[in-house]
Point group: C2
Chain length 87, copies 2
């Protein structure tokens, strides 16, 4: 399955010892609409706030990218998850 | 980019008229660990609660699957997003 291969493929680039739980979020917005619905930005921010409650987010474990392709703007968030929640 | 192609590919299966904003969440847990960290389930449930605040979730707009591959259990959630938030 392409999506899982991609997700796990990112993992294979590291050594087996570095295998980690991961969270990936993609938010795709069709650009032909005048603008993204306001609720999308609010929902995204609230999702990130939930994640930040449990996980220390820093440059080492988080990658964010925004791509445009085929009429869509895609926000991609990749987070390496720790074995225990933050204190 | 494989991931975006996959996401948009799902869209291409529908007619152009049905192009919709989408949210996709993947949570990959390495199965070699004794069990998934407790916080992962809590975080997942809170993320779903945030989404449910904004979007009516039903069988028509939500697909959830759990796959196992290469030592990982991957929860995949695909949601078609409405143009406006629920009332």
């Amino acid at each position: 399955m392409a999506l899982i291969d991609y997700l796990l493929g990112q993992n294979k680039k590291n050594s087996a010892k570095q295998a980690k739980d991961r969270l990936q979020i993609l938010l795709a917005h069709e650009r032909s609409q005048a603008k993204a619905p306001v609720y999308l930005a609010k929902m995204r921010d609230e999702i990130l706030a939930v994640i930040a409650k449990y996980v220390d987010i820093d440059d080492e474990n988080l990658q964010i990218s925004i791509d445009e392709d085929n009429g869509f703007e895609v926000l991609e968030l990749n987070l390496i998850l720790p074995e225990s929640r933050k204190h």
